[in-house]
């Protein structure tokens, strides 16, 4: 802002709050346009011009059973991992909220640290833990609990474990931040009024933490839709993700218009799910409730 005549400038700004806010958000807006709106529109344009206007790539997608089925597998794996991440993340946040500050900080650091470890390293670590001669099978055999190694890897179980591990921070942090804004005295009050622990949880603590659940679950679900490294490494024959097929079209087959159409469809599916979510769970209202 220019500062020529403080009082008049102050008045102008006061008179035009719209402009002032616009200027404040404009850097973010420019970044959004350059980094998101522009590339996405290029993708949309590419998907319908090859080189003349055509919808053939979209028609092909919906008439070939492979793509519909892989899209369905993608959604299924995403829903499943969102649920498992939610359960684990919630428990983690719940415990952290009630832990002593020292212990809490150690755990928070540990979760943050996991962000800094490469995705590939984390996936390979899971391979070492879950494989036929891996840590879990060795332990279970040693204690005589199993005769044959369990099949924990290269199937849906492996994928869910690997993805959940990666998603936990994304879901635990929003829930944790909401819980930190929650007054624990409310729980005491409920118990004081005769509620059991179970009733206290379901009728006081849980409803109050809903905004965090809403934000975290949506974030994780959308991330999961575009995931494929973990399913590729920890999954089996059937854990094929749509982004894997997009990558093949881009890199190996050079069919960029079709790859663009597939990306556009994935984007639309994501948006539809977002709007349904927003309609019934009110994502905006939920985010409004987030307190840090």
């Amino acid at each position: 802002m220019k500062r020529n005549g403080t009082s008049s400038t102050g008045r102008t700004l006061a008179l035009k709050p719209g402009l002032r806010y616009f200027l404040l958000v404009s850097p973010a807006l420019v970044a959004l346009l350059l980094l998101f709106a522009y590339p996405i529109s290029i993708i949309l344009i590419k998907s319908v011009f090859d080189p003349q206007f055509t919808l053939k790539h979209y028609i092909y997608f919906f008439t070939n059973s492979l793509y519909i089925r892989v899209m369905w597998i993608t959604i299924e794996i995403s829903v499943l991992t969102t649920l498992t991440s939610l359960v684990v993340g919630y428990i983690l946040a719940y415990v952290l909220r009630r832990a002593r500050p020292g212990i809490r900080n150690i755990f928070l650091m540990a979760i943050l640290l996991s962000f800094m470890i490469s995705l590939l390293v984390r996936n390979y670590s899971w391979i070492l833990v879950l494989q036929r001669n891996g840590a879990i099978n060795i332990l279970l055999t040693y204690f005589g609990l199993i005769d044959h190694p369990l099949k924990l890897l290269h199937n849906k179980f492996g994928v869910v474990v690997g993805m959940t591990h990666i998603f936990i921070p994304y879901i635990a942090f929003p829930i944790y931040s909401v819980m930190m804004g929650m007054d624990l005295n409310l729980e005491k009050a409920a118990q004081n009024l005769g509620a059991t622990r179970w009733q206290t949880f379901w009728r006081v603590s849980f409803p109050l933490s809903l905004p965090g659940i809403g934000a975290g679950a949506l974030l994780v679900f959308i991330m999961a839709l575009g995931f494929f490294i973990t399913p590729a490494l920890l999954g089996g024959r059937k854990e094929q993700m749509i982004s894997n097929l997009i990558q093949i079209q881009v890199v190996d087959l050079l069919n960029w218009p079709f790859a663009s159409a597939m990306s556009a469809i994935l984007l639309v599916v994501t948006l539809i799910i977002f709007f349904i979510y927003n309609r019934y769970l009110g994502a905006e209202r939920l985010w409004g409730g987030v307190k840090i």
């Binding site: 993708i43 590939l120 036929r132 982004s243 050079l254």
Partner: protein, 359 residues
């Protein structure tokens, strides 16, 4: 698939870089860049990194830089999508690029590569299998059946693809790569098709044969690091694998063994992106890198792939030669991958493969 590199995988680089603007990603993140000498002209070379690119650095890049006073800038992790981005935008990041066959075939189909200038590149001693319109073969490498002796528990080892399919006689978990090329060929060989009559592939017959073993394949591997990890850890007793990787593991003391019988011989190629202004120097480099002496040094000292220059074996000891895919005794047990068959067929067969995988 890069069969030579260590843990970092170019496929994952590309993937995390996301679908859009592969070239942009390279420009912004900056690929691994290694400079050899600084004087006069510059040549930018892209290869596949790891121990493979290191072997090229010692055998080609440094000697070329010294001899011709050229500064060589290295990059790694190329594919035809990035070449297309460069050719379309006419902004060239690479003058010479090491590409796999499927990328070369696709590049030729889409007119993305310069024809080889035969007045500069001497092809007289190059194996005919390693000569294409827009590319010269740089190494022979093999994908074949491999196993870990330790995982067999003293049992007899499978010695062919037919044995690999015989899960009763040769028990043990198995691994194959999640892709149509190679696997359809292996299935047909297991079903008794003679290697010289594989192409054009009887696709229906191949999938029918694959149906027999579908549920016995424990892992469908995706990258080079994974195939060796699976065999080393015993997660798979048998699997398809790349000979260079197996050789590296053997040198580290892992009891892996490669079965040359029924192996698929493939190549990596030197190419030049279409319209590159530095084309002349690029061709000169390709000629240099394809000389018998240079290739001989590379294969003898640095990496276990097969030279494409037939005279290169003069510079390789007999013991070392036996480990290489294009050693005559090994060569006659294998078939050569037909890139021109796969070029136009890759898209429909990849779709059929993936459909087969999920059903």
């Amino acid at each position: 698939m890069d069969k030579k590199k260590g843990m970092t995988r170019r496929e994952f680089l590309v993937t995390t870089g996301a679908a859009t603007g592969a070239a942009l990603v390279t420009a912004s993140i900056g690929p691994f860049v290694h400079t050899t000498m600084a004087k006069g002209k510059t040549l930018r070379v892209c290869s596949y990194g790891g121990s493979y690119q290191e072997s090229q650095r010692k055998a080609f890049f440094q000697p070329f830089a010294d001899k011709f006073g050229v500064k060589i800038i290295e990059a790694s992790g190329g594919d035809i999508a990035r070449v297309k981005a460069q050719v379309d935008s006419k902004t060239y990041e690479w003058d010479v690029i090491d590409l796999e066959t499927r990328h070369v075939a696709r590049g030729e189909l889409e007119n993305l590569l310069e024809p080889i200038d035969t007045s500069v590149v001497d092809l007289s001693k190059i194996d005919k299998k390693a000569i294409r319109k827009c590319a010269v073969g740089n190494i022979f490498w093999t994908t074949s059946l491999a196993y870990n002796k330790k995982s067999l528990g003293g049992g007899k080892a499978a010695g062919s693809w037919a044995d690999f399919w015989n899960v009763k006689k040769f028990p043990g978990p198995r691994a194959l790569q999640d892709q149509a090329p190679f696997n359809l060929e292996f299935a047909l060989i297991a079903d008794g098709v003679p290697m010289e009559k594989l192409y054009p592939l009887d696709v229906d017959r191949a999938f029918k044969k694959l149906d027999q073993i579908k549920n016995n394949i424990t892992v469908w591997w995706k990258n080079g690091a994974q195939q060796i990890q699976l065999l080393t850890s015993g997660e798979a007793a048998y699997g398809s694998a790349w000979n260079g990787r197996v050789n590296v593991a053997q040198k580290k003391g892992v009891p892996l063994k490669i079965v040359w019988q029924g192996g698929c011989l493939d190549l990596d190629w030197w190419c030049v992106p279409k319209g590159n202004p530095n084309k002349d120097l690029a061709m000169k480099f390709i000629n240099f890198a394809c000389s018998a002496k240079r290739q001989g040094e590379q294969m003898q000292k640095y990496i276990a792939y097969g030279p494409t220059n037939l005279d290169a074996f003069k510079y390789i000891t007999p013991e070392r030669a036996k480990e290489l895919p294009s050693y005559p005794e090994n060569l006659k047990k294998q078939f050569a991958m037909d890139a021109d068959y796969w070029g136009p067929k890759l898209a429909p067969l990849t779709e059929r493969w993936k459909t087969w995988m999920i059903s």
